[in-house]
Amino acid sequence: MRTGLDIGSTTIKCVVLDDQNNIVFSVYERHFSHITEKCIEILKRISHEVLHEEPCYLAVSGSAGMGMAEACGIPFVQEVYADRVAAGRLNPETDCIIELGGEDAKILFLTNGLEVRMNGSCAGGTGAFIDQMATLLKMQPDEMDQAALQAERTYTIASRCGVFAKSDIQPLINQGASSADIAASIYQAVVNQTIAGLAQGRKITGNILYLGGPMTFSRCLRSSFDRTLNIKGICPENSLYYVALGAAYYADTISDPRELLARIEAYGRKAVFASLPPLFNDREEYWKFHLRHAKACVSRVPFTEDCGTIHIGIDSGSTTIKIAAADENKNLLFTDYRPNNGNPVPIVREILMSLYEKYPGIRIGSVTATGYGEELMKHAFRCDFGVVETTAHFLAARHFMPDVDFIIDIGGQDMKCFKIEDGAISDIFLNEACSSGCGSFLQTFAEAMEMNVEEFAMQGLFARHPVDLGSRCTVFMNSSVKQAQKDGASLDCISAGLSISVVKNALYKVIRASSADQLGMNIVVQGGTFYNEAVLRAFEQEIGRNVVRPDIAGLMGAYGAALYGMERSSGESSVLSYEELKDFTHKVQNTTCQGCGNHCQLTINTFSGTGRFISGNRCEKPVTGKSGDQSLNLYAVKLDMLKKYTGDEGEAVNGTIGIPLCLNMYELLPFWHTLFRHLGFKVICSPLSNRTIYQSGQGTIPSDTVCFPAKMSHGHIAVLAAEKPDAIFYPCMSYNFDEHLGDNHYNCPVVAYYPEVLADNCGELDSVRFIYEYLNLQNRSHFTSHFPKILKQYFPSLRTKDIRKAVNAAYAEYEDHMNKVRLKGAEIISEARRRGMHIIVLAGRPYHIDPEINHGIDRLISRQPAAIITEDSVSHLTEKFPTSVLNQWTYHSRLYAAAKYCTQNPDTDLIQLVSFGCGLDAVTTDEVREILQDGGKLYTQLKIDEITNLGAVNIRIRSLFSALQERKERE
């Protein structure tokens, strides 16, 4: 007999084979982190029922089984390898295996060079991801599969990791996209992720085997793979058990199950993992803590018709709807808190109607909306005011602690922190897509353990050894939890560890605080997550200071909105009356705007009586029919300036040159275009990026953690190569121009050498000549004499004299172009000043003007309204100054200079665009923030990636403008 045991991240699988290798026993169960217990249970069962206490060949496989196997001296086989062993026996004709597990994705190429690939540590889970998404859609995984079969269309969902995808799906749910379509989009996202992350340019063809839980259970997932890869894969019998089967086949030592059991039991008793001090030493400490927090409560009075004028706040969040009503003395009368089920409108209607019904004499003084759904609420119900949620939260916190100087709000999806100075918000920290999911992460984890989140958190309160899970994004936490499970950590220790992680994430990743004093003296914590006492306690422990948690921690936005309305109320609210609500109808229609390349997903809400409301748009075009005036948006202007080069191809006297419009080409195109045109080349430039271009190159990206602008360049090469130019020109450049703003003038490693990556990975370049020489434009005299030699290697008929001339023209054109940018910047500044508009330096890199990379954020900002200029249009206006970081990259020196410029101009503020995965911005962001803060300015950072949640971006932008407005009012 042979036994194979596969202990994965979420499930345990076991098979027993008889001597003819027939499966005589198999089991597939979730282990809920109780790995050793589950293992013992199963082994006992098979030992007794199947093996009849006889020894057998046995081996263990699976990521969660590694530690145990090692410690207990059980033969171990790596799981991917086990797959291969099993497939070799059962399906010897297989060319390629695609296996999705709880948290891993794997591709095995078996023929033409054995290669095995596993997802990177950042690529997130797959099975767990699908589960998470199903939870979000309020479905069981099998229901989701069913639903997906009915889909009519798919949406683009970030395929990079679960956290990103979640923030794409939430707005879709909110916008009322059909769950069938969303479900199908989720499966497609998994497919895209697997291909982009693992195939890395190698084509998946031949006989394909689909293995693992998600592949076995979801028809739609398999058909998505079939469709995308244009193949017909098979999901064999026992597809769940291949790893276990492989382990069984491979087992080469005979073990006595009873003896193994003894060893595993002994192992289970001596758990070792990195642990932290407990949250509470004893019950008494807990009660003291509990009672202290019970005191922070808002004054309430019974809600009757005699309460006088009341003010209502509606906080329409991403997943929930919260409503609070207060009387003129700020006493809380009424609250409501419930999930929005993806459509908050009918829920709010119902609540408002029930208020009218219960209290017919009610006098409503104001209704104020806040949160993601603010505009929707305002339009649907004719609310009096809208307030950005940061301000609402601040107003509520101030009610509890008048001298509050720091507020942290951890909700289900987002985390908001703000510093208060002189009674106004002085600094805002919002979580980036990568560290989000805080509250909902705990929830998802609890659900995976089949508990509710309160129950799960309670488990941790008295854990003796909370697991140290670090402070990274949830995906990392998943694998840290896996590690802890492997090391035998019990559920209470994991629960406590997760709560502590949430806090560390907030403190060290979002706020980047190095000490409690940096936060403030008077801290208010709020948001639903802080109802969780383990998180609350962990927060106090981590900062070493007591904080105030209001009893309405989860309703602060709604309460604050009510207070906001109270201050501004004219006495009578414009909100829909009972009759109007009764007749109220709401229709939702989804469409894609074709107005420009952004292709915004529009949601058109039609309300009876209150008209139409369009959401999802970045600009005014779908509303007013014409796009907003972009003459004061230097991003748009710069993009327009490039048309001169992309539109002018010229005649092919000496041949055709292709230039990919990516990374530093956004700045150097004028140079190279001019140079080649002068030499009689037809110059084909790749078009502005779009989603299709990106997808045409995503299969050749070798590193899934490189920044999106770099990934984008693969698509540009694919598009250019299809045009069959004589050569594609994209030089490597260690050095940039020296603008005398820093100590050196490097390019970042990715910008400098990305052509090398393209050369090594883009198969398209096998058939086109690719010129990616190492060039340095800074040393003009050397370049002028050196470049002709290089170019003549490729085009021997060119004359040195002509090349030199062309080089001179190129330098002149580049200078002219840069001057134009600066001049245009100056024009915009003076025009904005004339009109009294605020000016925003949207600071990034040259390639951030690409609309596919910036997602139209420039337009979003210009709607505030504000004039937008670029970092390179003002960086020349300051002198080099000392910085606390080594200032050695040209593009980055501009950021520091632009920040400095802002501190010298009261009407100018800076928003920094940061591409996810940009290593250098780990250095620049802190520095830019400090330069701005030293100059008394606010710092705002927008992290952007393949896909960006514009809802969060909008809140950030509006918070900034609201804080600026407040500052202005006080001055």
Partner: protein, 424 residues
Amino acid sequence: MMEYMTPDFTQEMAATHTILIPNMAPVQFSLLQAALDSEGYHTVLLSSGSSEAARLGLKYVHNDTCYPALVVIGQFLEALDSGEYDLEHTALMITQTGGGCRASNYLKLLRKALVKSGYGYIPVISVNFSGLEKNSSLHFTPELARKVFAAVEYGDELSALRNQVRPYESNEGDTEKLTGQWIRTITQWTKDGTNYKKRREIINNFERIAESYSRIPVRHENKIKVGIVGEIYVKFSPIGNNNLLAFLESQGCEVNLPGLMGFLEYSIANTEIDYKLYGGKWYIGLGAETALNYLDAATTAMNDAMRKYGFTAPGRFRELMKKPEGILHLGAKMGEGWLLTAEMVELIESGFTNIVCAQPFGCLPNHIAGKGVMSRIRSLYPEANITAVDYDASSSRVNQENRIKLMLSVAAEKLNGNKPAESY
């Protein structure tokens, strides 16, 4: 804008201050310590990596900064907190490559962390060859420079030999014992000021050392041969790479960890290459060429000595520079740049077809010279079995080891003549 400044390290401080150095490569750094101490410095190597150090690193350094910065700065802060050092007389030493990668910024990030954690009065010494931090850098006298180079050479040889013998030794502990003896002997030489100057003397020692390792009784068996390349810190440092070398040996592998001198030579070669590509002052180009030839002669002698006694050793550095041809240009010089690619090719060609490419999570140069070149290397060398492993403060060991085991499974199969392996 304030610049986070800590006091400059003056030459007078050499006599009064204890200098803390993060230990990167255990063998080489213990000899480097001896070199510094013999020139009048008093140094301490920080070799432990506790969770407290990691916590301090995460607290005071931007969490998206590369892992080595987090580890090293955390180590420093932990040491300063420990109470073991007279803080009025303690200085910190850190390297700066001056290249276009983030690593050049570690020193500035360290200063910032020091100021923020209340240690703004601790001087920081920069070790660099690029003219950075002129007022606070380690002053390389000709004496010190020669001792440092000798230390790196001897260290590279010891660790190369140790790695080749240890997995096969008949009596467990023989190799470590011999390595320990040599470290003591060389430390004594350095103290006495002998055996680092004369070329002949050094070459003799290379041979003596190689000969002594060849006398360790070994078993003859076929082991999986694994090379380690990567970002310099996580490649070498057991703290940075979760004890990768020991892990691989525990899995029954022979490990080849290309030496530290390669990185120094690479840095010098880049000056020469830059001159060829972009022009500049001719004497700088010439100087680099001369220095490189000098070092290359020494490493070549060392490698010859090892080969003479039957050990594997790489070829000349000038040969190594040809390896990336057709894969990556020598102009790619940020971080480990082309050296990383060159080492992979060199390893594959010398039979170490299984490779762990270790890098900090999100390492920029490795997008290019590591992950970026792998598919090309695989197509040129179908036998190559490379796995890229990311290291950072929270990435879990189980994830890393799982990947490595996968690579080893494939390796074992190949070792068995392409039959599915019976172990791993």
